[in-house]
Symmetry: C2
Subunit: 654 residues, 2 copies
Amino acid sequence: MSGRIATDYEIKDSGNRNMSASYTEAELPYVHKVGKPPKQDLLKEIKTTLKETFLSDDPLKPFKDQPRKKKFVLGLQAFFPILSWSRDYSFSKFKGDFIAGCTIASLCIPQDIGYAKLANLLPQYGLYTSFVPPLIYAFMGSSRDIAIGPVAVVSLLLGTMLQNEVDPVKQKHEYLRLAFTATFFAGITQAALGFLRLGFLIDFLSHAAIVGFMGGAAVTIALQQLKGLFGIKNFTKKTDIVSVMRSVINSAHHGWNWQTILIGVSFLIFLLVAKFIGKRNKRLFWVPAIAPLISVIVSTFFVFITHAERHGVNIVRHIEKGINPSSVHEIYFSGPYLTKGFKIGVVAGLIALTEAVAIGRTFASMKDYQLDGNKEMVALGTMNIIGSMTSCYVATGSFSRSAVNYMAGCNTAVSNIVMSMIVMLTLFVITPLFKYTPNAILASIIISAVVGLIDIDAVLLLWKIDKFDFIACMGAFFGVIFVSVEIGLLISVVISFAKILLQVTRPRTALLGKIPRTSVYRNIEQYPGATRVPGVLIIRVDSAIYFSNSNYIKERILRWLTEEEETFKDHPKVEYLIVDMSPVTDIDTSGIHALEELQSSLYKRKVQLVLTNPGQTVLDKLHASHFADHIGEDKIFLTVNDAVLTLAPKMEQA
Amino acid sequence: MSGRIATDYEIKDSGNRNMSASYTEAELPYVHKVGKPPKQDLLKEIKTTLKETFLSDDPLKPFKDQPRKKKFVLGLQAFFPILSWSRDYSFSKFKGDFIAGCTIASLCIPQDIGYAKLANLLPQYGLYTSFVPPLIYAFMGSSRDIAIGPVAVVSLLLGTMLQNEVDPVKQKHEYLRLAFTATFFAGITQAALGFLRLGFLIDFLSHAAIVGFMGGAAVTIALQQLKGLFGIKNFTKKTDIVSVMRSVINSAHHGWNWQTILIGVSFLIFLLVAKFIGKRNKRLFWVPAIAPLISVIVSTFFVFITHAERHGVNIVRHIEKGINPSSVHEIYFSGPYLTKGFKIGVVAGLIALTEAVAIGRTFASMKDYQLDGNKEMVALGTMNIIGSMTSCYVATGSFSRSAVNYMAGCNTAVSNIVMSMIVMLTLFVITPLFKYTPNAILASIIISAVVGLIDIDAVLLLWKIDKFDFIACMGAFFGVIFVSVEIGLLISVVISFAKILLQVTRPRTALLGKIPRTSVYRNIEQYPGATRVPGVLIIRVDSAIYFSNSNYIKERILRWLTEEEETFKDHPKVEYLIVDMSPVTDIDTSGIHALEELQSSLYKRKVQLVLTNPGQTVLDKLHASHFADHIGEDKIFLTVNDAVLTLAPKMEQA
């Protein structure tokens, strides 16, 4: 009875300071009673659960015990973090922000023009999206390193989903309006998740699935650029690798334009070399950052003097001058396009959010500051809602530009303001200069940008650490490149959920054996040296017991018993079945039910059920359901060793 | 270094037989090395996972090492269990089965007629459904106690969903055809789940949600019977309690028929008293079992001699004579009704399956025999597919009749065959006698039958054991009675899933303290006597660390640290943060990532991360990802006590 779990919290002292949790018979004088904690009341329990679910970061804590005026100021600061950090802002910080802002502006301008094409929009909409949203974000966001604007994956996703509904060429105006509608609802989705503190929902897209999805999207985007890079005229509208490669090969004889290929490929090599230099020497990060702008300037000048556009080299031709026009009245608030825009917006908004939050977290942990995920979502959502009213499409944080921003030494979101101002100047003054920019250059810039999204190291790590994660990653990757972006996304989500469900449906169980000359019981499969105790079967359940797995656990335990009896027919009959519950963190009514059924099945087989080391929550429920009384409190022990010593002392020595 | 987890499996013996897992400094000579198990290869890992998921019951085991002919016989027996048990069948077994079969037949005939009305079908379809499906089940099913036929909840669900699509009065024939189509697809769904071994999917409907749903459905069904019981003519088609009560009250002045009420209420009292007697004395189980048939006979005779039907008492009037006609050509295999029938069939099939499997499991565990869930599903599915071609609607196991079957001493599925034969005789011979049976009697019979579905004891137990389960139960209950059956069902499913997701998103964490004069570390909240070790913060994570919770766990641990530092400003600075990983059964790449981020955040705060007692799977992944090398292998200990003794021996004594 030494290690039996009793009902009163009391530890008897016998002079020895150190008492082991799994003590031996020689130490028997220590009766180690483990307490049953006072019962929590329902309200407190629900309150704790709700708080941990929705308010785990305790956002109202600073408001406590403050005068009303202070509360108002704090509330304003919560929505506009700029109000709190701007007071410590200094010229030296501005210097870093200014340099970083200029660097990301030089990177974003050519990217914006290319990404807008991915979304089947005119080039100026990319630039618009780099003007308004970063400004809003600078006031409301709390990340110091993120660079806001249009990004490749969201542009592609939006473009694919929009053209499934509306033809971007024949119904140009409807397409544009649907794009703004989707952007509006993307913003609403993001802000709503933040306001309702449901930010944790995006955690359900697993890291592995995101790596695969991003890699697949990068390959798809790069393949799409073959059109611009090779100057192909009749290009498929599908995004899967088979259709695209067929398009490319079929057009090999008459559709390729060698001048375009020459320009595109030579600048692509230049960009990739620049990228390589930046990667090798972190201090030369600015080389890949300004390379795209240099490419644009040089190639534009080259086309302008050689008039290559007359030899089949496609050029940008026209970018609207001036800043964002209003698009409030373009958004569909009724009609059939409303629901379509809503659906597309929700999907695009969630993907944009996932990307932005991942970036925000990465840099916040690198500089060790706290990022409030829900507040971030409100900021991102607001920025897209306002964006949708000022001719922008879905903006979010860009991986590549945020990294450049960080390396260029940004200190605050002011670098976004600087970038935004430069984009504004571009829109006002220099857009006509882009007239002769060849499309092949934009294709090269996009390819060199998305190459960074293919994270081979991460995939190798997945393979090494967790094979299931690797399969999830590959599923998403191949789904995107062989079928479509949406299917790839769907596969990611389904695999992520399947993993969660598998985890809760089929928990591990292990047969324990005694490691010779110790009191430690470990998994027999992993420790071939561990020995069975004759007449006793010891099984550890490695999960909380819930309705989703209770039946499986019950049947699995009975199966262990049957297998044992069949395999070792000459051994003494199993008299005790010890279930080690150390890892069982919780149990619900179905779980209790399963234990009851297990006990009655065992009773018919003349085997006694013994439990060891149930956690406090579990112990509570065993008592509440009277199952503890049912099997007898003397059948619940603190450790497996105690149970074996008490119940089968002779067997143990056999 | 005493308890450090080393990389080789080796236990050094120093003469003492019993070695404690959490030993003290005095015992230092025992260097307890815990082994790193050999790596499993990918194929084996995937094979194990797939096997545990889909073939956890090892159905192919008996086929191993058998000659081909034997394999064929075993295969036949697997599909038709009757082939194996019929060889041991004896007359004494038949006696039990015969009595049980007669008892459940007397119970099912009046119930069938009433349940058919719930599904808006003519009474004979209820009887048809008690003839063919039980016969098929007897050959293919493996439960010995289940009684097959139409049941109240599925009839109501089917009736509600069907009348949303087709008007049962105006489009009589289409309605009937859609019912057969739904039944066909219900069968296909059930059989497919069994064949694909996806039976575990029904475990995702939690016990608590089922209790609530069943209770709600019982109340709804009882309320629907007020129409028959009060003889109301204009009755609402909605099933929610508000509409029904309004219907009843509005018709109070002119719509009620006192003769009907007199017959209905007096027999309802008789039935409930019979039920009460059966409950009080288990040996009188046959009293409630034959009471319905007695009521039907007596009331029919009474109406026949008094001609009460001329005074507004509604009677059955006509039941088609003869056994099931074929309905193969009635099933919609094309057209718009195909998809509608399919959807309704899937839902009805799953609910029917849940009920049948729950009944099967309950009785199997009472008599201690194994039930193969997947094989059961194939049997139930086949029976409904054949049923749909012989004018039956969805049949499944009935709670009330199975209990009677069990108590009447059934031994095998032969009792279902006996019942089926009696129903056949009824269809051939005595259906005309039901002409004068008053509808009020059928209403009373249904009410007294569904009362048993309201399981107040189970609800009280849910309240006592698990408050969240209780909320889920109430959600489903009120969803059914205040909105509709489908909404209640939807609420059950959503709540069940929400519970799983909550479990994996917001795991518990606990701050550990040392219980004085022991080496045991326990949750400080539950053991107010446990003391903090100055300079050391010990946190236990109570869940596997996966992508869905890794970020939360990281932030929660950092929050513990912040709170600790703010609350105990006068204490020595926290130098070590010990994460006790005993309950962490698994970790994935996102989890490793979170640990890395945690470590780098702690490094910036000058706190060292220490891990104790990681399981083998976790240890493997810590090594595979080189995180173990990263934090240093000397920072991984076997127990919290070892870690504290090694790292902070002075602090511990302070």
